[in-house]
């Protein structure tokens, strides 16, 4: 019995020594970056647009940084879990994440969360695509004016599917309704894919979504783009006008940005910014992202910070003007 106790005590002592030894060694390390694997947190499930973006970007960053770059999916709460984790992560440059506008900005406006936009530092923007409205090819809605007319004729019963309450496309629909003075029935789905299923089955009239969601479906003649909410016409859909052309200042789109916790040291941040610039201008990245039909659009850290600031103000205004709910 006594022998067992002594043995146990010795083991405990050894374990303690091990723990303290490790801590000592760690503190001695000088700031050299990166010396181990870097994580990119993605707030959406594997297979989605954000996930593919991260997975295409990661190998190129890996080549430049010289350390493994691993994509970690942390889906939940429309991205909230990943954003929260990124905000609270150790600012040592080993945890990065994808941030989105408007999603990252709008979630705190709609409910109580544990992060703010000030918790992030931006590295560079990867994706931008505008929102747009699609219908079935045989739909009688052919032009922007048709859409407005149908909406008015059906007096609030025109079904427009979106990918979830207060998702970027739902917000786009709200902005559209406000600017055009119409009311439609926003029908939420768990993501864009189910909304497209309903559209193709003829159960709803239209879907509001992003370019990447439907670019292939347009090619295979499954849906038709009626109009977009971009700054200018998208060359993929030359016949679809923008709302701006029609005299309404509605520009709604989705940015996907690589970010880090706000307190990340500037030297590390700069290294990442450089790495990202290089990665995104490499020909293989351009080819691979082109193959995957990703709407790549680079913005530098300063540019995107400005854009996010503008979007934040715009969204706060939208919330106030439309009296959108806040669950606190």
């Amino acid at each position: 019995m006594k022998r067992k106790m002594t043995a146990g005590f010795v083991i405990l002592l050894a374990l303690t020594a091990l723990v303290f030894g490790e801590a000592f060694v760690w503190a001695q390390q000088t700031v050299k970056y990166p010396t181990k694997a870097v994580e990119i947190l993605v707030g959406y499930g594997a297979g989605g647009a954000s996930d593919i973006t991260a997975r295409i970007l990661a190998p190129h960053l890996e080549k430049i940084l010289g350390q493994p770059v691993v994509v970690v999916n942390k889906p939940g709460g429309g991205g909230e879990i990943a954003y929260t984790m990124l905000a609270k992560a150790n600012p040592d440059g080993y945890t990065l994440g994808l941030i989105n506008s408007p999603a990252t900005i709008s979630i705190p406006l709609s409910r109580k969360v544990s992060y703010t936009m000030n918790d992030f530092a931006y590295i560079g923007n990867v994706i931008y695509h505008e929102n747009l409205i699609v219908v079935k090819p045989d739909s009688k809605i052919k032009t922007f004016e048709d859409f407005i007319a149908e909406a008015k004729a059906k007096a609030g019963k025109l079904n427009v599917g979106n990918s979830g309450p207060y998702a970027d496309d739902h917000l786009a629909s709200l902005a559209l309704q406000h600017a055009a003075g119409i009311k439609v029935k926003d029908t939420p789905f768990q993501g864009t894919a189910p909304s497209l299923v309903s559209l193709l089955g003829g159960h709803i009239d239209a879907v509001v979504c992003n370019v990447a969601d439907i670019v292939e479906k347009v090619k295979q003649e499954q849906v038709r783009v009626v109009f977009t909410m971009g700054e200018k016409r998208n060359e993929l859909f030359p016949n679809a006008p923008t709302m701006k052309e029609k005299g309404m200042n509605v520009v709604m789109g989705n940015y996907t940005t690589l970010g880090a916790p706000a307190k990340t040291p500037p030297e590390i941040l700069n290294k990442l910014i450089e790495a990202m610039k290089q990665a995104m201008s490499s020909p293989e990245f351009i080819k691979k992202s082109g193959d995957a039909k990703l709407p790549v659009k680079y913005f530098s850290a300063e540019e995107i910070a400005k854009i996010y600031k503008q979007d934040t103000t715009a969204l706060e205004n939208l919330w106030k003007t439309l009296n959108l709910p806040t669950q606190k």
Binding site: L15, L18, V19, E22, V25, W26, V70, V72
Partner: protein
């Protein structure tokens, strides 16, 4: 004995259903045309509460004989639960390799497996295989814990 357990258990369920119902009432009910987030929860909360009261009544009235005539080995169950909770708390700190090793070893010894050689060997094999399959092959990010720096 089994009947007392049933009564306790079902009472617990009744409380949960009632709490759920109260939470559900706080949500907007909406209308028949446009059901709100509270519509479904209120209905099933109500059904659940009533149903559990009914089942509770059933179990109080029925004289249940001891289930299947097996005797309980509750001490082992408590050890299982305790060590699992312990691993939940310390998993990040101790790492998956050591943690699984200790868990398997502890549970086998608690089940009165004689000797040390067999349990230790099995624990080493089990923890290594689990680590290799999940951590390496399937690339799940398992914490290295106290062994970080070594693996």
């Amino acid at each position: 004995m089994a009947q007392r357990l049933s009564v306790f258990f079902i009472s617990g369920i009744l409380i949960v259903c009632a709490a759920y119902f109260i939470g559900a009432v706080r949500l907007p009910f909406g209308s028949i045309n446009e059901p709100g987030p509270g519509f479904f929860p209120i209905i099933i909360g109500a059904i659940g509460t009533i149903l559990s009261a009914y089942v509770l009544g059933e179990s109080i009235k029925k004289k249940e004989s001891a289930r299947e005539g097996k005797t309980q080995n509750s001490a082992l169950l408590i050890i299982y639960i305790g060590s699992l909770i312990g691993l939940v708390i310390f998993f990040k700190w101790i790492g998956s390799l050591c943690g699984v090793f200790l868990l398997v070893l502890l549970l086998m010894k608690a089940s009165r497996l004689p000797g040390w050689r067999l349990p230790v060997i099995v624990s080493i094999i089990a923890s290594s295989v689990i680590y290799l399959v999940f951590g390496y092959w399937l690339k799940v990010s398992l914490p290295a814990g106290i062994l970080s720096g070594l693996i």
